[in-house]
C-alpha cells in the first residue's frame, strides 16, 4: 500500500531483479455465480477492507476512505451553502434520555451497545453508545431554541455510530460501527421542513447518480418502514440485480413534532404564541461505498466511477528488452505531471519487480478507471495507449491531445457505468397486478412495482406470506414518479382499491 503507485521506485539499471510475472491475482469467485463470496473477496482483494477481529467491525483502508472523502468534498459544501453548520455531539447518551421517545427507542433498543465499566470500576448507570443522535441532540435544541429568530436551527455532524446487529454483517452494507453524516434541523413551519427533506434527498440522488454512477429511485417509505419515531421518511432506493434485493441508499426524514413534544422544543412566534418546532433528520453512510462495489464490480475486481476514484488513471511503463527504458520511465513521470496539473488524480506504477501484466491485473482489481500504457512504440510516436477498465476498450492518444481526451474518456466512463447500471436495473423492474404475478416476480428476483392499498396490515401480511429462507418481501418505497393508476385498480395483495404504485421486493 505504502510505496505502490507513487512515481518513486525507479529501476536501478544494470541490477538484475526477480520480476514477478504471475497474474494469479484474479478473484476465486465469480460475481454471477457466488455473489456473496465474490463481494467479500473483492472488497478485501482491492484493499478497500480488512476484516477485523471483532465480528461486524471492519477496517476501512485508504482505498475506500478516499471515496468517502470525495463524497464529503461534494456534500459538505452543498449543505453549508444551505446554511447547515457542522457541530459535534458526544458519542454517549444516558439511558433516561435515550428512552424519551418511545417508538424511537423501540426501534433501536435491541442494537444499542452499553458501556458499564471504566477501568475496573462499574459505572453508576450504564451509558449507551449512540446508534443515531436524535436523543443526544434534542434536549439541547430545546435549550437553544426560544424564539422564532432562533429558527431554523440546522446542524450536521460527521461521525461514527454503533448498532450492534447480529444478522449478516457485511462490509459497508451492514456493520456494527459505521461512518455517516447526520443532519438534524428544526423549523418554525412544516412547509419549510417538507422543503428541506426534498432538497437533501436531491443531494443524495446526486451522490448516487452523479458521483457513484448508480441509478436510484426517490420515494416515500411505508408506515411500517419509516424511521422509528418520525412522521415520514423519504429515501433513494438502489437495486442489486445479482441478489434481486433493493437497498436503501440514504434517508431524509421529516420527524414532524414527535420529538419536539417529547423534548419540549418550543418557540415563541411573532405573536408571542408558544409553538412546537418541526424537525428533520437525514443521513447517508459508508453504505454508499458497498452499493457502488455491488453494482459496478466485475470478475476482475472493483470498477470505480471516475469521480470518486482515489486514482483516476494509472500510468504503466511497458519496456521491451532493447528499448529505451529510461526514456519510457521519464515519459510515464511526465504524463503523471501533465495530467495532475490538469486536476486529475493520476499515479505511475514504476515498480521494477512486477511485470506489466501483473500490474494490469493489480490495478484492474483495484478498479482504476483508466490504464495508460507507455511502451517503445508509444514513445517513438509521441502517444500513449489508453485502456478503459469498464469495457476493456483500447485507443492510442497523441500526447498533444492527452489532457482533453482523458477528461472526455473519464466523463464517458461515468456515463457508460450509469447507463449500464440503469439498463440492468430497469430490466429487473416488473409491474404486476396480482398476487400470483407478484410471487413469480419475487421468485425471479425482480424489483416489483405493484398497486397497493397502502394499509399497514396488508404490508405485514405480505411479509408473513413471503417469509422464508431468502427473507420476506417488503415495500421498498412509493416512488414520487407515479405511473398512471386507472380508476378501479385493485391492490395486488388485498384486492382492495389501490391508492398508489409502490415498489416491493427483498432488501438489504
Amino acid at each position: 500500500m505504502a510505496s505502490k503507485g507513487g512515481t518513486n521506485g525507479k529501476p536501478k539499471p544494470g541490477k538484475k531483479k526477480e520480476v514477478k510475472k504471475e497474474t494469479g491475482l484474479g478473484l476465486t469467485y465469480k460475481k454471477d455465480e457466488n455473489f456473496g463470496e465474490w463481494y467479500s473477496e473483492v472488497v478485501v482483494s482491492s484493499e478497500m477492507i480488512e476484516y477485523y477481529d471483532i465480528s461486524g467491525c471492519y477496517i476501512l483502508r485508504p482505498w475506500s476512505i478516499a471515496i468517502w472523502e470525495n463524497l464529503h468534498a461534494f456534500f459538505d459544501p452543498e449543505i453549508k451553502r444551505m446554511n447547515v453548520k457542522n457541530a459535534y455531539f458526544p458519542l454517549f447518551v444516558s439511558d433516561s434520555v435515550l428512552q424519551k421517545e418511545k417508538d424511537h427507542i423501540e426501534g433501536f433498543a435491541p442494537e444499542v451497545a452499553w458501556v458499564t465499566k471504566s477501568g475496573k470500576t462499574e459505572l453508576e448507570v450504564p451509558i449507551a453508545v449512540r446508534p443515531t443522535s436524535e436523543t443526544v441532540m434534542y434536549p439541547y435544541y430545546s435549550k437553544w431554541i426560544r424564539g422564532h429568530r432562533d429558527l431554523p436551527l440546522r446542524l450536521n455532524q460527521w461521525c461514527n455510530v454503533v448498532r450492534w446487529e447480529f444478522s449478516n454483517p457485511t462490509p459497508f452494507i451492514r456493520s456494527r460501527e459505521f461512518l455517516w453524516q447526520e443532519g438534524h434541523t428544526a423549523f418554525a413551519t412544516k412547509d419549510e421542513a417538507d422543503q428541506e427533506v426534498l432538497e437533501i434527498l436531491e443531494l443524495y440522488r446526486r451522490i448516487y447518480e452523479e458521483y457513484l454512477a448508480i441509478p436510484v429511485i426517490k420515494g416515500k417509505k411505508s408506515e411500517l418502514e419509516k424511521f422509528a419515531g418520525g412522521l415520514y421518511t423519504t429515501s433513494v432506493e438502489a437495486f442489486i440485480p445479482n441478489t434481486g434485493r433493493g437497498i436503501q441508499g440514504a434517508t431524509s426524514h421529516c420527524l414532524g413534532q414527535n420529538f419536539a413534544k417529547m423534548f419540549q422544543i418550543t418557540f415563541e412566534n411573532e405573536s408571542r404564541e408558544k409553538l412546537m418546532v418541526w424537525q428533520n433528520s437525514w443521513a447517508y453512510s459508508t453504505r454508499t461505498i458497498g452499493v457502488m462495489v455491488m453494482v459496478h464490480g466485475d470478475d476482475k475486481g472493483l470498477v470505480l466511477p471516475p469521480k470518486v476514484a482515489a486514482v483516476q488513471a494509472i500510468v504503466i511503463p511497458v519496456p521491451y528488452k532493447d528499448a529505451d527504458t529510461q526514456g519510457i520511465f521519464n515519459a510515464c513521470s511526465s504524463t503523471v505531471s501533465l495530467l495532475s496539473a490538469a486536476g486529475l488524480r493520476v499515479e505511475a506504477d514504476l515498480r521494477d519487480n512486477y511485470s506489466p501484466g501483473w500490474k494490469y491485473s493489480h490495478w484492474e482489481m483495484k478498479g482504476v478507471p483508466l490504464r495508460i500504457e507507455i511502451g517503445p512504440k508509444d514513445l517513438a510516436n509521441k502517444q500513449v495507449r489508453v485502456v478503459r477498465r469498464d469495457d476493456g476498450s483500447k485507443q492510442d492518444i497523441a500526447m498533444d491531445n492527452l489532457v482533453e481526451q482523458v477528461k472526455k474518456i473519464l466523463e464517458n466512463i461515468h456515463e457508460s457505468l450509469f447507463n449500464k447500471a440503469k439498463e440492468k436495473r430497469d430490466d429487473c423492474i416488473q409491474k404486476v397486478h396480482t398476487w400470483d404475478e407478484f410471487a413469480v416476480a419475487l421468485n425471479d428476483k425482480k424489483m416489483i412495482l405493484a398497486p397497493w392499498c397502502d394499509e399497514e396490515e396488508v404490508e405485514k401480511d405480505v411479509k408473513a406470506r413471503t417469509k422464508g429462507e431468502m427473507g420476506a418481501a417488503k415495500s421498498l418505497c412509493t416512488p414520487f414518479d407515479q405511473p398512471e393508476l386507472p380508476e378501479g385498480t385493485l391492490c395486488f395483495a388485498s384486492g382492495k382499491p389501490a391508492k398508489k404504485w409502490t415498489y416491493w421486493g427483498r432488501s438489504y
Copy 2:
C-alpha cells in the same frame, strides 16, 4: 445560532420593533481573578461549548467545530503531501489485543471504557472503546507488511477517542471523549522514523504558532513523561500564564521497535533478512482549541486568531434616527460581498431587534477579530469604521481600499496576538540553578528552566517534594534549543552533574 449573522433578517421599514439595548452580555468572572470560572463561562457564552448531561463530555458547537475544520484544512493536505494516507479503524478493541504491549496498557487501563452489553444481551467478552489506536492497528500492520517494498506504511485517521478520566474534566483540555487525528507509521530504518517525528512536530508547531498564534517550545519528554510503550516522545509545549501551568500541545512519538516486537511487525530486507520495523505515532486533538481560548481570551470573551476564526469580520449597521437606513443596510451587504469575494470569511448582523451596542458586545464575546461599522457618516464618506477585537483600536478605511486594508489588519492581528502571547509567556520563563530558586519560581507560577541530571528517580523525587494542593511539578520538556551548559553545572534537584536544560512546572 441559526439565523444570527447571515445577511438575512433585513428590517421591515415602518414596523415598530422592540429593540434590545441591554449590553449585559459580559462575563461574570474576570480572567485574572477567577481563571477557572472565567474559562468555563467564556467557552459557553461564546457558544463554543454546551455542557452535556454526562460529566466530562461536551457538545462542540459550530463556533468551535469551524476552528477544528480550519486546522484540518491546513494539516490534512500537509500530511497527504508527505504521502500519509487516511484510513479508518474500528472504535472497538478486544481485551486480548489491548493487553499485548504491557507498558502501554498500564498507561491506559484505568481510563478504558468497556462495552459489556448489547441490547439486553451480555457480550461474551467485554470490548474496549479505543483510548488510542496502537493496539487496534498494529496487528494489521503485521499482516500488511511483508517486504521492504511495503515500507514505509503511513496511515492517519480522524476520529474520536475515549479516556474515562475522573480528575478535573475541562472542556477541550481534559474530556472523556475528544476528537483528534492519529498518525501511525512504520519504517525500515530508525533514521527515517526519527526524521518523520520531527517533520510532524514542525507541523504541530505551525498549527500553534501560524494558526492559533500561540508560542510553543519544541522538545523531548522525560522517560517518566513519555508515551506509554514508546521509545521517546517529542512535543510542542505551551504555557498558560494565568495558572502558571504548562500544557502539552501535541505529541509526536517514536515508538521504536517495542510494538513491532509485541505485534511481530517484521519485513524482509533486500538481503532477505527478517527485520523489525521502526514505528511512530503522532496526534493533535481538540485540546488545541482550549489552549487558544486560555491564551488569547479576555474579560470581554473569546479573542480568535484570524486564520482559524469562523467569521473574520462582522459587519454591523449603525443607523441613526433620520439616516438612510436602507442605504446603510445595502452598504453592509455589499461590504460582505466585496470581502467574501476576496476569500475572507465575513458576515453582516442585520438583525433589527438588537441595538448596535448589543451586537458589539455579542461579537466581542464570540471573539470575531474585526468589527466593521457602517453609519450615516461612513455612508456619506464612502468609508467604514474598523474596530479590532484584540486591542480595541479603531480606524476609518475608504471603501476603495477595503480588501487590501482588511487583509493587512488581519495579518497584523495575528502577529500582535502571537507577540503579546510570547511576551507574556517569556515573562513567565525563569532560569534557576538551585532547589531553593526552583521552589520560589514554582510558587510564582513560572515555567522553570533548570539544569538536570536526567535521572528518572530524581524526577520522581521532584514530584514527591512538590506534591500539594496545586498538584506536583514535573518536567515539561527538554527543549531542542538548549542554552549553553557550562562544564560543572549541577542538577537543581540532585546536585549531580547536569546533562541538559529542562523545563519544569505544574501542568495540565
